[in-house]
């Protein structure tokens, strides 16, 4: 096959994967908005998932958020002062660190820790016929397993991103004191002046979209495992690669949308 042929084949495969993923996303969304999904068993799974993803990770997450936040804010603040852009410090914190860095960093941590686990869990359940066992008892795996994990992804990414933003803003206060000799009152006034509903809303939407897809994709690829144990690592590898592609795509799309909205408004 020539180069153009191979390129076309790759494009067709990519389009098919995207179409399958979006179709799976639609099926999950329908079940997600159905109130009947949230029975006692599903609620228990949801609480457990939130605990595993958003609570167990807290000590490590907060430590990384404080260290990373201090480094990013410290370096940015110093550069802004050197370039004479000190008046944009608040906008940098709210527009760049809170809206862009917090969700991105949070989603990377959750993808590495929880999404790989979910991908493996679903693949193992498929191989060991546990999904079939659920179906034998008329338990819909999509409602019982997938919906709570995906809702958890959306909730956890949003909550942890907010927490990350708070940790970074606290670091920001430390550096505003050291570099700009700013008091707490001045810092708070600066943040309030720079806070725009658009920033917060953009962050919220991005967190929800990221949380949805970074769990949906590992589940979908976990389901692609066959009856052989050797298919588990392949399913996990494919799932995690697609997760990182999805993260980048959503980041790019959100930047385009934000910039378009910015121009319109």
């Amino acid at each position: 096959m020539d180069f153009v042929g191979r390129l076309g084949l790759s494009a067709i495969r990519a389009a098919r994967t995207l179409s399958d993923t979006l179709s799976f996303a639609f099926q999950i969304l329908v079940k997600m908005i159905d109130r009947e999904t949230y029975n006692s068993a599903v609620r228990l799974v949801l609480f457990r998932q939130v605990y595993f993803t958003a609570v167990q990770i807290l000590p490590m997450f907060l430590s990384i958020a404080v260290i990373f936040g201090a480094v990013v804010v410290g370096i940015s603040a110093q550069y802004m002062k050197d370039l004479g852009l000190s008046e944009f410090f608040g906008q940098m914190l709210m527009g760049f660190v809170v809206t862009e860095i917090s969700p991105f960093f949070t989603v990377l941590l959750i993808a590495l820790r929880s999404c790989s686990a979910i991908n493996t869990e679903i693949a193992v359940m498929k191989v060991s016929k546990e999904l079939r066992a659920l179906e034998a008892f008329h338990i819909d795996p999509a409602r019982y397993l997938f919906v709570p994990r995906i809702v958890n992804g959306m909730v956890s990414v949003t909550l942890l991103s907010s927490l990350f933003a708070v940790a970074v803003l606290i670091s920001g206060w430390l550096f505003s004191r050291i570099i700009f000799s700013m008091s707490l009152d001045e810092y708070a006034t600066l943040l309030i002046a720079s806070a725009k509903f658009g920033y917060i809303f953009a962050m919220f939407c991005k967190c929800v979209a990221l949380g949805f897809f970074i769990v949906l994709i590992p589940i979908r690829f976990g389901l692609s495992a066959t009856n052989e144990l050797t298919s588990i690592p392949i399913a996990v590898l494919n799932g995690m690669v697609r997760v990182f592609i999805a993260i980048v795509l959503i980041e790019v799309l959100s930047l385009i949308v934000t910039s378009l909205l910015g121009k319109l408004i």
């Binding site: 029975n39 006692s40 068993a41 066992a133 008892f137 008329h138 338990i139």
Partner: protein, 146 residues
Amino acid sequence: MQDAFVREHGGRVGIVSQDIPLISNLDVLGNITLIREYHGNLPREAIEDLIRDLLRRFDLAAIAHKRSAVLSGRERFVVKLLRAAMVMDAVVVIDRPFRLLHDPKDYGFVLTSLKKIDEWYKECHIFDYQWNEERYGGADAPQDGT
């Protein structure tokens, strides 16, 4: 034949089979309570005492928080049987019990187990190969497997 039977009885069938495993990331209690939690929308606490009581009938209260991987063949059989009995108006189907219980003497164990929970199911059907007939007591065994 078994597939046709399952189709005929629909949602009332509770299967005990080697091919229908326990859920590995749930403990024994979780596996058994799941059916009522999901279909009856009952909180786990409301069913837990009941399940512990059923496990005590088999002197297996100690395995309540164990997972499938550490259970013996007989323990796994009992857990699968209790899970099947949790289906409302259960029609328990035991698929080739000697794949789960390897000792030929275990048919007695199957019968005893069924008697211990007989108020929990409406019917019970055992499916097995013809050549295993002797294991069920030969000519005395019910031919329709019921």
